[in-house]
């Protein structure tokens, strides 16, 4: 045990003095959330403000456009109205971004309305981004209001009330709490980031403590020291696992920092995220990170010990990123996949789903227990494979 501690202490000291490892392990996870949350919210707020202040350029095409609707548009100072003869001309202006939207009524629209028939209003626009949808919504809102007025007038003529045309009214009651709703949306994003940082944080020390040791020529002397290969393995393994876990903890700290210092976060979102980050949730998430970090550490060390050099280790481990990201993505971001008795047994996906449930506050005892049991089992299998691997002469002396 003393030798394991000696090796652990030395490897930890070596890793702490490695600036690259420290950057990926501590600095990057710490700054990424404030940058992400601060950056995205600031950019979003600026765009929203800009779009709200922007005067919409709307073309009215043809002669049969209803006068009431035209007046409504003209009275809105945020809309600039242009009269254009044809949709061909309007379309070419929309394509060059000279116009936001073009409106036109079918020929004989007023007479159709007079005759209590339906008339068609055409909307031409170019959906490039979410902002066009917002513009379209503003225009459609005015058309809907116009249509509503006509409907009321027609009902009045028939001495009927509005209830006649709306026999059923839907009254919705969403029993999900704000935390549950948000937990299922951003709750998917957070485990993705935690698990990814956990992997990244463990990756660099693993390469350095395995392949780096071979490349430096220090492995030979370590193998001649009176420490068994298992003691060497456990000492290194401890530092790699600690590095991965620290990255996860620091990324969580990054969220707290974001909440404290990023002013642009809407107060409702701030309150919900604060509610999510209760000590019990944080402890649960971090405890889920333990078995997955152990598994990552074992896999990374296996590959790192196999590699002849730092460079080879990097080229072998880089594809493993995809093997980690893919299941995390499935678990975190694809809707419809939930934590159940089956998914709780699938490595990586299970932890990802369990984190999501923990954030939403909807976790159940049995699937959670299975996640812990299966994850620790996979980690134990990884460590066992690693312990066999380090005993193999053709792996250790591959170069």
């Amino acid at each position: 045990m003393n030798r394991i501690i000696t090796i652990f202490n030395k490897e930890l000291k070596d890793t702490v003095r490695d600036r690259k490892a420290m950057f990926f392990m501590l600095v990057f996870p710490m700054i990424v959330f404030p940058l992400l949350i601060g950056g995205v919210t600031t950019i979003q707020m600026n765009i929203m403000k800009k779009e709200q202040a922007k005067q919409l350029k709307v073309a009215i095409v043809g002669k049969d456009f209803p006068a009431e609707l035209s007046r409504d548009f003209l009275s809105d100072t945020s809309i600039a109205i242009y009269k254009i003869a044809s949709f061909e001309e309007a379309d070419s202006l929309i394509k060059t971004d000279s116009l936001d939207i073009a409106l036109g009524a079918e020929t004989g629209f007023p007479s159709k309305i007079e005759a209590h028939k339906s008339g068609m209003i055409y909307l031409h626009f170019k959906t490039e981004d979410e902002m066009v949808k917002i513009i379209k919504k503003r225009i459609s809102g005015k058309i809907d209001a116009y249509a509503h007025d006509i409907r009321l007038e027609r009902l009045r003529t028939l001495r009927l009330t509005e209830e006649f045309s709306d026999p059923v009214k839907i009254v919705e009651t969403d029993l999900a709490t704000a935390r549950e709703r948000l937990g299922k949306t951003i709750g998917g994003m957070l485990p993705y980031i935690f698990i990814l940082f956990c992997f990244m944080g463990a990756m660099y020390p693993a390469i350095d403590l395995g392949a780096g040791e071979k490349e430096r020529g220090t492995l030979e002397t370590l193998l001649v020291a009176p420490a068994s290969r298992m003691e060497i393995l456990y000492g290194k393994f401890g530092v790699i696992t600690l590095s991965g876990l620290l990255s996860s903890v620091v990324s969580l700290l990054g969220i707290f920092v974001s909440l404290q210092f990023v002013d642009e976060i809407p107060p409702e979102l701030h309150a919900i995220v604060s509610d999510i980050l209760q000590p019990s949730t944080v402890i649960l998430i971090l405890s889920l990170m333990i078995p997955i970090t152990l598994l990552f550490a074992a896999l990374l060390l296996i590959l790192s010990i196999y590699a002849k050099s730092f460079k080879e280790a990097q080229s072998i481990i880089t594809p493993l990123n995809i093997a980690v990201i893919f299941p995390v993505l499935i678990g975190s971001l694809i809707p419809g996949i939930h934590l159940n008795l089956t998914t709780s047994l699938i490595p990586i996906i299970n932890v990802s789903l369990a984190c999501k449930e923990a954030i939403a506050g909807t976790g159940e005892f049995l699937p959670f227990s299975l996640v812990f049991i299966s994850s620790f089992l996979y980690a134990a299998m990884g460590i066992y494979a690693c312990s066999k691997w380090i005993q193999k002469e053709h792996i250790i002396f591959r170069n």
């Binding site: 030798r3 000291k13 430096r216």
Partner: protein, 253 residues
């Protein structure tokens, strides 16, 4: 004392390109090699690159397991008691590296801790070695900041910090300049004076005459000569050691 008894080491080679599904080749790196190294004497293992010198030394140092035969170091069987064997060993090769982010003293202390040295024992031994090697001026400097000569001194201190009974040198002067090589040669001589068992491998014939009491000539994994250097020199049929080596290995190869 080191006893190597009919030791063989077989490695699994690569697969042939022509038949990727065929079983991999077996390569015999060391073939039924036997010799003994005695305390207070320097044993030289000489042979060209790929002769099996490093494999033999790695088996003695417990890094590799013999495929057949047995080795004892200071009375311990290397396979049955690897940790006890290592406790008695010091190992230095030309490829031995150091941890750049540690200081010279931290590097030496790391190995002292692995050898389980007590704090007072370590302090005394460290002071003795650091004075002997003139290392005090750079003891707290990071290894990445040291010159090649300084690094070699740290490596020497690391090798003998636990005062081992047996010291193995695997081509220790290969690739080093004259001044740095001198440190190694002095260390080997000092170890001999202290009564340690020393085995060192080299492909430099000049070092044999300078240092060795006993020698073994190895080529293609086989031993071609095993005995005292003086006897070898007196029975030489060629003018130089190099020519004698070629004659010996050529006759029987």
């Amino acid at each position: 004392m080191i006893q190597v008894n009919t030791v063989t080491k077989q490695f699994t080679g690569g697969r042939k390109l022509a038949s990727p599904f065929a079983p991999p080749d077996k390569v015999i790196a060391v073939d039924k090699v036997s010799f003994e190294c005695h305390p207070g004497k320097i044993f030289g293992l000489i042979g060209p690159n790929g002769a099996g010198k490093t494999t033999t030394l790695r088996m003695i140092a417990t890094m590799l397991k013999p495929s057949a035969g047995n080795i004892t170091v200071a009375g311990y069987d290397v396979e049955k008691s690897p940790l006890e064997t290592r406790q008695k060993l010091g190992f230095l090769s030309c490829n031995t590296g150091l941890y750049d982010r540690l200081t010279a003293e931290e590097m030496v202390q790391y190995y002292a801790d692995l050898y389980g040295m007590s704090k007072p024992h370590y302090t005394d031994r460290k002071n003795e070695l650091f004075s002997l090697l003139d290392m005090h001026s750079f003891a707290d400097r990071r290894i990445s900041k040291l010159s090649t000569g300084m690094k070699q001194k740290v490596n020497i201190a690391r090798t003998v910090i636990h005062n081992p009974d047996v010291v193995i040198f695997d081509e220790p002067t290969s690739g080093l300049d004259v001044l740095t090589s001198k440190n190694i040669v002095e260390l080997i001589k000092r170890c001999k004076d202290e009564g340690k068992t020393i085995i060192f491998s080299t492909h430099r014939f000049g070092e044999l005459k300078l240092l060795c009491d006993d020698i073994a000539i190895i080529h293609n994994g086989e031993l071609f000569y095993n005995g005292s250097y003086s006897e070898f020199e007196s029975n030489m049929k060629e003018d130089t050691l190099e020519e004698e080596f070629i004659r010996l290995t050529g006759e029987t190869a």
